[in-house]
Amino acid sequence: MTDPADILVTGDRIELRFPARGDLIVLARLVTSAISARAGFDIEELEDLRLAVGELCLLTLHGSDERYGDLCLELTVLGDAIGVVCTLERAAATTDVPGPEGDEIALLSEQILDALVDEHGRESQDGSVRAWLHKRRAGHAE
């Protein structure tokens, strides 16, 4: 059931698109904080989502040439949960071989997402990279 005090309700969807640059991921985190608060998440969950969405963006950029693409972030309120999809569009795979630190960071991102959200995944599709997560509010776990 949706709390009537919530500003955002089931089905509300917010999209943010920005050049796929690491220094702009802060925008995704800021928007996530605002949307999560309006969707009824408490402060701890909001902080978890802010961190998780930043990691989602990093995972989406991992292994891609981020100079030539856009990151598209879609946040959808789904009843007691929020769904976030991050898509890297129009970017080619990088010609640089990811260094050990890059792989290590991707592994850390996966660990953080494992701990903070209910479900997450990443796939490549039609030349685009897509990563997603799903997080329920506390007290609404199945």
Partner: protein
């Protein structure tokens, strides 16, 4: 936006203390990497990294810390991390890095003098 990112190298302490404040993420982590590598290259094998003023930290920051820790240990030293904010401690915990780093909740506990 949260507190502005800043790095301060505190002179005259042994081991040297590097204090960071603000958000350490993919945009700011390279500055921290450069600072840590420079201090290690100057011959300081053990460093105290004061993260008490850090308000946000992501996997990129953790990657920089792990890289610096490896460099310190290669030359017989260590990287002591000072962190007290439960949100920041939680990130170290969920990534298993509390078992990797020497973590203290105060500069005194980290052996900075």
């Amino acid at each position: 936006m949260d507190q502005e990112f800043q790095i301060e190298e505190r002179a005259g302490t042994a081991p040297p203390v590097i204090a960071v404040s603000g958000e350490i993420d993919v945009a700011t982590a390279p500055q921290l990497r450069e600072c840590l590598h420079r201090v290690i290259a100057q011959g300081d094998s053990t460093i105290v990294l004061d993260l008490l003023g850090v308000t946000f930290l992501d996997s990129t920051a953790l990657g920089v810390l792990v890289g610096a820790l490896k460099r310190c240990r290669e030359v017989g030293g260590d990287l002591h991390v000072v962190v007290a904010d439960p949100r920041i401690v939680k990130i170290f915990e969920i990534t298993g890095l509390t078992n990797v780093f020497t973590i203290a909740d105060s500069l005194q506990a980290a052996g900075a003098s």
